[in-house]
């Protein structure tokens, strides 16, 4: 994989100070909170009163979490981006959409590579986040991170993205150390009709999407979609550009079937193929996946779901003549029921992964052995107990068995007090980041070397990295138009990655020689000033102290290129004459130089979108990263200011 860091180069300097002023003013504005209604597509009263009670109970009413609680009652640092927020932001890729919450640090490294993390440890192989698309886990067991350039979804059809910062290991998977990103697409019931869009610009060379959704009988809805894009190269300080342009084509479908009022079946799949420009030859990648989920509601007190998926990807890297192909089969079962004042959820899962990491000897570093089977077995149980009227205790644990370290457990205890649209919560959780192939099977060079020759010889004794997280949060929805949340955390990491020589040799091994602490706060607010104007904002402060354990000799600072202050404001405004004016402004502190990564200066920038939308047609002009001619977010590739024009139609 050619994700190695580049030497520091020339940087852009001037920063625009306007966005900070604007943010402050708008933040102040958001504190004024008159009581007004939320703007959502209306169901006509006539339609609605004809429905039976069962049908009313089946209407999807909110844009909040999949967990059985209202967002205001959620006892975790969850933030939600709705499909509408994304469409109005001008984002052209899932990774760009994730800039809409400030509890994530999104850094674009090159035209096709994004590095995304929550609560720290941002680096090229950022590996402490669990990411799912419609329940399908998409981080790669190769290095525990997400290849964002291979994650696709038609942004038009995204229902919401839930971002939980903090450990989610008890309910979710083994990688949910610092956060969980749950990307959820709309049910096919809600995407009937035709959607077509074409776009072109100076960085997005062209971008097209087509979707058709329909019904078969009363109970089956489906959609078919395809998309294609071609993106330009980022700018270089020394050469004409970085030769990192890329193209991608994707096709997919989703079927939703309600065989009975109590059952729901979803089947979806996609195929994609693309090419990243690399020198001297381009690097191809492709992938396929297929997912089926059956859920049954036994009663309002009890339900279950069973999910199966298959996922395969192949990612080639031409310059190093290497490739990685992973086949995954995953089965998950979960059951939820209530007894008296207790809410119990439990489940189990099995994942089979076959990795073919093919690295050419000439590439230098590589993964040995080439083929590896990784079995993962998981089981979890969580009980939510209503102690007294407004007080809930939520306790549970996940148990998992993985190829490298055997059994691991991830318990958490939460206490939540909810009253009148507000919740105060506190949590203590343990989470583990189980080893990936990059931790255990990484060799440089790939052939055994004598102790007198410098080499890296894998991590035969690498253990899971461990986290104890202490969290405190408050969320409130004082009225129908505003919401606010606050979370504070203190994380203690043990047995973190290091690379150290065996005593008296030049043979380096990957070990667990680092440790550290991190702490910070996260704020988020939403405010609907009027039916026509809505604001969302977020701010994160993060600080940390990571270092080698006593008796170890390693500098882990390059593992955590984290911004200290991260501020985001999104404004969504409907103007007269069918016009829309939308802005996403953001401020990110700079990153210090480490021995492996470049310094990144602080930057303020914004995306702006002006659109005319009428009768199913929409014409928009979007400027991305308009704060300066270009800027770096990680490494030395310059992300340019860019513009595109997009025309779309919905029928």
């Amino acid at each position: 994989m050619s994700k190695e860091m580049m030497p520091p180069g020339k940087r852009c300097q001037k920063k625009a100070c306007f966005s900070l002023q604007a943010l402050l003013i708008l933040l102040l504005l958001s504190l004024l909170s008159p009581l007004r209604g939320l703007a959502q597509p209306a169901l006509s009263p006539k339609e609605l009163k004809r429905l039976s009670v069962e049908e009313l109970l089946n209407i999807e009413v909110t844009l909040v979490s999949r967990t059985p609680e209202k967002l205001t009652e959620a006892a975790s640092a969850i933030q939600v981006i709705t499909g509408e927020d994304i469409r109005r932001s001008g984002a052209t890729h899932l990774a760009e959409a994730l800039r809409l919450v400030a509890n994530l640090q999104v850094a674009q490294l090159s035209s096709s590579v994004w590095i995304i993390s929550a609560r720290g440890f941002n680096n090229v192989f950022a590996n402490k986040l669990l990411v799912m698309i419609d329940g399908r886990t998409v981080y790669t067991p190769l290095y525990g991170g997400v290849l964002w350039e291979q994650q696709h979804a038609l942004l038009e059809d995204i229902d919401r993205i839930e971002v939980v910062s903090g450990p989610g290991g008890t309910l979710w998977g083994a990688n949910a150390v610092n956060g969980v990103i749950n990307i959820i697409t709309k049910s096919a019931k809600r995407t009937e009709g035709l959607y077509a869009s074409v776009a072109g610009g100076d960085f997005i060379n062209n971008m097209e999407a087509l979707r058709y959704g329909g019904k078969i009988g009363d109970r089956i809805s489906y959609r078919l979609f395809g998309k294609h894009f071609s993106r330009d190269a980022t700018a270089s300080a020394t050469a004409s550009n970085n030769h990192d342009a890329w193209t991608m084509t994707e096709a997919g479908f989703r079927v939703d079937w309600d065989p009975t009022l109590k059952d729901a079946v979803t089947i979806e799949g996609e195929l994609y193929a693309g090419k990243r420009k690399t020198l001297p030859l381009a690097s191809a990648s492709n992938g396929q996946n297929l997912m089926a989920r059956w859920s049954r509601t036994f009663s309002p007190r009890s339900d279950m779901s069973l999910q199966l998926y298959y996922d395969r990807y192949l990612r080639k890297d031409a310059p190093t003549a290497s490739s990685d192909m992973i086949n995954t089969v995953d089965a998950d079962f979960q059951n939820h029921f209530r007894i008296k004042s207790q809410d119990l959820i439990w489940g189990m899962g099995y994942r089979f992964v076959k990795d073919d990491a093919h690295f050419d000897i000439a590439a230098g570093a590589g993964i040995v052995p080439r083929f590896k089977r990784l079995d993962l077995f998981t089981a979890f149980v969580q009980d939510e107990i209503h102690l007294v009227d407004s007080l809930r205790l939520i306790a549970g644990t996940k148990l998992l068995h993985n190829e490298y370290t055997g059994w691991e457990w991830q318990p958490s205890v939460r206490l939540a007090w909810t009253s009148h649209y507000q919740t105060i919560w506190a949590a203590v959780s343990r989470a583990v980041r189980t080893p990936s192939r990059f931790d255990v099977d990484y060799f440089l060079p790939m052939t055994p070397q004598p102790p007198t020759v410098p080499s890296v010889a894998g991590g035969p004794n690498f253990m899971s990295e461990k986290l104890m997280a202490y969290e405190l949060g408050y969320r409130v929805q004082p009225n129908k138009v505003s919401s606010f949340s606050f979370a504070a955390f203190y994380n203690v990491y043990k047995d973190v990655y290091s690379v150290e020589p065996l005593p008296g040799t030049l043979t380096y091994q990957i070990q667990n020689g680092s440790e550290g602490r991190s702490w910070g706060i996260e704020l988020a607010g939403g405010y609907e000033i009027s039916k026509r104007w809505r604001l969302r904002t977020g701010y994160t402060y993060l600080d940390k102290n990571i270092h080698a354990k006593p008796g170890h000799n390693f500098d882990p600072s390059y593992l955590a290129n984290d911004v200290r202050n991260n501020l985001m404001l999104q404004s969504i405004l409907d103007l007269p004459l069918h016009l829309q004016l939308d802005v996403v402004a953001r401020h990110l502190d700079g990153l210090g130089k480490t021995f492996a990564t470049a310094k990144v200066p602080v930057y303020n920038t914004a995306d702006a979108r002006l659109a005319w939308a009428n009768k199913g047609f929409e014409l928009s002009v979007v400027g991305q990263n308009i704060g300066q001619k270009n800027h770096t977010e990680f490494g030395t590739y310059f992300i340019p200011r860019s513009f595109y024009v997009k025309l779309n139609a919905r029928f």
Binding site: C12, Q13, K14, A16, C17, F18, S19, A22, I25, L26, L29, L35, R36, G37, L38, Q40, P41, A42, L43, P45, L48, K49, L51, V53, E54, L56, L57, N58, I59, E60, V61, T62, L63, V64, R66, P68, E69, K70, E73, P300, R301, D303, R338, D389, S390, T418, S419, H420, K480, I529, S530, K531, R532, W533, S571, L573, L575, V583, Q628, K629
Partner: protein, 183 residues
């Protein structure tokens, strides 16, 4: 073009934008539009009139009154929904109250005043079907609580409280609800 000039232009653009935003903020009066959840809740309120039996002495006129105590999340939507609808020959009307004391003739009351406990206490055994969505609403003696689970509205019914108020709730409604009975 130099970066410095770009910078100045951008600041200018920003200032203009903020001015424009303020202008819009002060220049138009928004109208209320209930959220999807509130629309569905309104439909449920109407449905309850069909699935609950009130004793004859619960009525003092020829109307069936749906009351809203406190903040009204439904706006005109509820009126539009119950327009021309009847309960056993009685036309449905919607009334709004700011305090419990104002409630005289009311059969179904949506309580949304931030202190449902006091209202529930004051109205217990008065032949009024009390509906709310505070987390402890049904536990504290309210009859039907709306809550949201998996993005859908769910109902929690305190059967004891309804019985004590002389109301009889259809088994059709109970079947799809979470029922709690006080021991």
């Amino acid at each position: 073009m130099s970066r410095g000039r770009d910078h100045i232009k951008f600041v200018e653009l920003g200032r203009k934008m903020i001015l424009l935003l303020f202008f819009l903020y002060t220049s138009h009066a928004p109208s209320a539009q209930p959220s999807r959840a509130d629309q569905v809740k309104a439909a449920f309120l109407y449905n309850f009139t069909q699935f609950v039996d009130w004793p004859a002495n619960a009525f003092t006129g020829n109307t069936f009154v749906i009351g809203i105590l406190g903040n009204d999340p439904f706006g005109d939507y509820l009126e539009a929904l119950v327009k021309n609808e009847k309960v056993n020959g009685r036309s449905i009307v919607v009334q709004r109250y700011s305090g419990v004391g104002e409630i005289k003739n009311c059969q179904l009351l949506f309580i949304n005043n931030g202190n449902s406990t006091a209202a529930i206490k004051a109205l217990a055994k008065k032949n009024i079907l009390t509906v709310g969505d505070d987390i402890n609403f049904a536990r504290e003696g309210g009859m039907i609580r709306f809550f949201i689970e998996n993005n859908k509205i769910r109902l929690q019914i305190n059967l004891t409280a309804a019985r004590e108020a002389g109301l009889s709730i259809s088994s059709k409604l109970l079947r799809v609800s979470e029922v709690i009975e006080n021991e």
